[in-house]
Amino acid sequence: MNELGLEAAILEPKQTGRTDPDAVDATLAASGDASAFERLYRSHVTRVYGLVRRMLSDDDADEVAQDIFVRAWQKLGTFRGEAAFGTWLHRVAVNVILARRETLGTRRKRYLEGDAVLEMIPARRPGPEMAMDFETAMARLPDGAREVFVLHDVEGYRHEEIAEMLGLATGTSKSQLHRARMALRQHLGR
């Protein structure tokens, strides 16, 4: 392992039969190659941007997405290649998003208990006859439920990972997910 921790970043081609181009670019970027980092940006910006929009809001998306890539550039030395670069970048993104949320103080009724989550979405609906886009319904979930739902059902994280990232008990992550799903259930087909 070198000083930048990048030796494992390139998958051994003889074992895998192919090389992860992201890992090559991450290695180059860690040594200061901005062009390589731009390639990584181009490859991942859409997914990162989607994560930001769903975890925060459209209003903050541009600025936070930029913050994420700047943070990733600064932290490239910690990328060990133990996971795919995209996975590592997502973890960086989630951390930046959560920090931003704390900074902005936008958390509202985080990690509600009981059926409060279920009650919030109908209360926010523009009207019973008006169709609500699934994304809009997601956006109206309380922060805690939305975070868990996005991370689990949209991004594919496991409860254990979510619990670690968000500082929750695994059981809380599970209960928030169920409540989010039950709330969104009401908006299927509308």
């Binding site: 070198n2 000083e3 930048l4 990048l6 030796e7 970043a9 390139i10 051994e12 081609p13 003889k14 039969g17 192919r18 090389t19 181009p21 090559v24 290695t27 180059l28 860690a30 040594s31 200061g32 190659d33 901005a34 062009s35 980092f37 731009e38 940006y41 181009r42 910006v45 859409t46 997914r47 941007y49 989607g50 929009r53 998306a61 541009d62 997405a65 930029q66 890539f69 700047v70 550039w73 699934f134 994304e135 739902f149 059902d153 949209v154 409860h159 599970k174 997910l177 169920h178 799903r181 039950m182 969104l184 259930r185 299927l188």
Partner: protein, 231 residues
């Protein structure tokens, strides 16, 4: 009773339910339309979530990012070493050194990285022109035989490393550390790219990366050597 199971439906769908509860729930479902409907709905919710696409930003965010990471000039941050010493002199290279670096750079930028590859692969590629069809004949002649390019690159690197080693004591430790870290990272990137090319010799992406990475090593060494004061 049904509510109790309704709250377990997500765990059931995610495979998180203990065996005993799973079996009990599966026995309950056929006789409970509420839970069955709930289960079907939750499956739809999950499917919808998994089908969501991602929308690209409405504007290109890269220019701002590039500015914030100091890459607006297209220079990698290792190059910033030069700015550490505003009055740093430019090192004068001997003609052979310049020629060696120049030849190596021409060879590399022409996509002739295969020249530096293993003998087995070299035998597959009989001439520079076969892999660098865009090169003019003059350049092909300049880099052929392959040994000259390899040796020229190695010589240029060795010369610059020697300059750097001789001036090591005159540079501050932070500068030395940054240089060595970056050189180590580049060397590993070169080695890794070479290994990857062993498995996929025709991969243009890898060839380009290898050439670019080797060029960057020369650039870094040049700039680092330029920091060494004249004795």
């Amino acid at each position: 009773m049904s509510d109790q199971w309704m709250n377990r439906l997500s765990d059931y769908l995610d495979g998180e339910l203990p065996d005993g509860e799973r079996i009990a729930l599966e026995a309950h479902l056929p006789g409970c339309s509420e839970c069955s409907a709930g289960l079907a709905d939750l499956r739809q919710v999950i499917a919808r979530a998994q089908m969501l696409g991602n929308e690209a930003p409405h504007r290109d965010l890269w220019p701002t990012i590039a500015q914030r990471i100091g890459a607006t000039g297209g220079k990698p941050r290792t190059v910033d070493l030069g700015s550490r010493r505003a009055a740093a002199r430019r090192l004068s290279f001997s003609l052979p050194q310049l020629a060696a670096a120049g030849i190596a750079l021409m060879a590399l930028s022409g996509g002739t990285v295969w020249l530096l590859r293993s003998p087995a692969q070299q035998s597959v590629a009989p001439s520079v022109a076969t892999v660098s069809s865009g090169n003019p004949p003059a350049i092909n002649a300049a880099v052929n035989p392959r040994g000259n390019a390899t040796q020229s690159y190695a010589a240029a690197v060795a010369d610059l490393e020697q300059v750097l080693a001789s001036g090591r004591g005159q540079l501050d430790t932070t500068t030395i550390r940054v240089i060595e870290q970056n050189l180590a990272a580049i060397d590993r990137a070169i080695a890794q790219a070479q290994r990857a090319l062993d498995a996929d010799p025709a991969n243009l992406y890898l060839n380009t990366h290898l050439a670019e990475t080797m060029r960057r090593k020369l650039d870094l060494l040049r700039q680092a050597a330029a920091l060494v004061p004249v004795s």
